[in-house]
Subunit: 430 residues, 2 copies
Amino acid sequence: MASQIVRVGLLGCGNVGCGVLRILDENRREIEQRAGCGIEVKKAADIDWARPRAYSVPHEKRTEDPWEIVKDPDIEIVVEVIGRTRPALDLVLASFENGKSVVTCNKELMAKEGRRIMEAAAEKGVDICFEGAVGAGIPVIRAVKEGLAGNRMRRIVAILNGTTNYILTQMAREGREFPEALRMAQERRYAEKDPSDDIGGFDPAYKLAILASVSFGSRVALDTVYREGIEAISPVDMGYAAELGYVVKLLAIGADTPEGLELRVHPTLVPSSHPLAHVDDVFNAIYLEGSPIGEIMLFGRGAGAESTSSAVAGDIIDIARNIRHGALGRVPCTCFEEKSPKSMEEVVSKHYIRMLVADRPGVLAKIASIFGNEGVSIASVVQKRRVGELAEIVLITHQVKERPVRRAIERIRDLEDVDTVANWMRLLEE
Amino acid sequence: MASQIVRVGLLGCGNVGCGVLRILDENRREIEQRAGCGIEVKKAADIDWARPRAYSVPHEKRTEDPWEIVKDPDIEIVVEVIGRTRPALDLVLASFENGKSVVTCNKELMAKEGRRIMEAAAEKGVDICFEGAVGAGIPVIRAVKEGLAGNRMRRIVAILNGTTNYILTQMAREGREFPEALRMAQERRYAEKDPSDDIGGFDPAYKLAILASVSFGSRVALDTVYREGIEAISPVDMGYAAELGYVVKLLAIGADTPEGLELRVHPTLVPSSHPLAHVDDVFNAIYLEGSPIGEIMLFGRGAGAESTSSAVAGDIIDIARNIRHGALGRVPCTCFEEKSPKSMEEVVSKHYIRMLVADRPGVLAKIASIFGNEGVSIASVVQKRRVGELAEIVLITHQVKERPVRRAIERIRDLEDVDTVANWMRLLEE
């Protein structure tokens, strides 16, 4: 067995890189049988070989120069796990130039430079695989490109960031405030010291841009993804959501509509009966709707070295099978169309609005008339409690376009009787 | 585009066959782009062209003779959607002989004749794909063979039969008795007139045999899968399960253990906090544990023409890509090992036992001493209610091998004070 050996080079040898070394070692026999050839890491590049590692890398495999890997004629597959766009992009493009296929789990790189990367790989007739860039080990990219390839995908609703899902779960379950839940996530190393990529929604926006490109067959420009983070959510909102039969989740939503691609990342009230409502802690889940498949959901650990290295190993095996059969480029880029983005103002949903207002007669009438004038129909208004001198009001709208809701909220903010519009979130329709 | 055309023949043109025709027609443009070639059904074979169909098949594509397709040199992919093992097996083997690749969603065929089929396809260097045989359109076979190929899979816990899951959901949610819930399932055409394949657990046993073969890399003989149906479950058990924090589901469980492959289909008490507890109605879900991926779950419609035809289309596109790249046989059979089955008596779990006993002092002591003598430790016993002259007792054991539980139950059944052991089910550990 394994007369042929495919050699791999690792660009970056931190947690994921070590995870890849471990999996190729521990599951060597199974992987060789499945790939039909041996798979061996020839070289790993890292800038700091002194830092402690979960897996010991033999000295002869170490290098500090990533270009040594990119230039090595023995290496057929380059695994990029450096992160960020530079120098990752240059290394990836040079690898293609040298006839190598590439595996990456770099969501920022694929979201920002996906088009260039896919085109360069196609031009050189090599493979580019990026399963780990979305949902870590959850094989959703391959599912959409292969198993579900007969479908026209209509909608993506997904929890794509484990850190924020952990924070929201802590807030919902234990009633913690956002800063405390964030601190807990940082203590557990779910959140980084600078957590802005996660809590600001940048990370799930990258992932949505990639997944939507693959699902809808049209390259998504990152700046067409609407994005809100979770900083404004309080346990008070979670409590009211629960009373109404909802759970608050940071969702990444994509839809292929006649008015264009709808792409948005924001906190959302999810009905408790929806499968995504039960996805807690650091888990991720991707809920897809397509024709003819109907609804389908993939659930798993969306972060961490183990899960991500599973994705990288799957990609390496896939490419090794292609190398063995002379079939590189077998599953090319599937962005064959140019679909325009849909303006966020055109997006239709129900809305949850919480505000603090003066506790006197006539205030509600003023608010209701502003919504009415803007054509926003109100499904329910409840006065929840008194906060000092103020009354807290929670309002749910019927389905309506975003534009008039924004206008109404601006006008309400200007009312003298209104202290604050404390929060405003969209609801997920079932 | 589509200078090359791959021609397909359908063996069987009922709901799934028509679904395949529809998807290849309605999503033609996307499918051609993704496959990199045109895909065309040249001929469909069915014994009855007079019956009403959801999709109209042009006369020139119809035949009553499946052998016409198997012998047609233009046809490169044969889709077998006849069901049962004969004549399906002969047609599939003859298709290989003639150099054609095959797509099937025939779970009985693959569970009973998988070895012969996989070997014959490998010998001829053609593809055999069977995504639709397990979980219909949920792409779990491809996930295990490809996206998760770097993993060593340890455990499968799955709801693989939509009909019984619908029945159990009706019983749990509405308190219906089994016969009534079955009747409802038949009215909705979820259950067949002769429902024994579903409610007896044969259908999920076929699927488990296939999925376990792929996951654990060892061909599973169907007769090593332990099987119980759902006929004995009553809403009374469901109620007690709910009180204890469980939901009753017909689970297919597979595990690769040091003592051999554990393979079993039976009603199980699933903790309400487990992701499978929320999988209701006709939905299926497959929960997998592997290393390094950890837990992963796939959820979707596990039956129906739409979902199954999505799987068939995915398989056709996969094979068309291989044909285009000269890469047939790219993902071969992955059963490289021979793992022995583990005896059901060695399986360790907690048990739920409900019995009706004489309502007098000392009865419980006798029962408890039998369990004690057999080495079965009891976690809790509750007397639930009086049924006529009898007392109903519900008992939960600690984790224990099956053998002593069986022996204890036999001895308890012989006790004069015991009227019936009304039900006995295993619990799923989290």
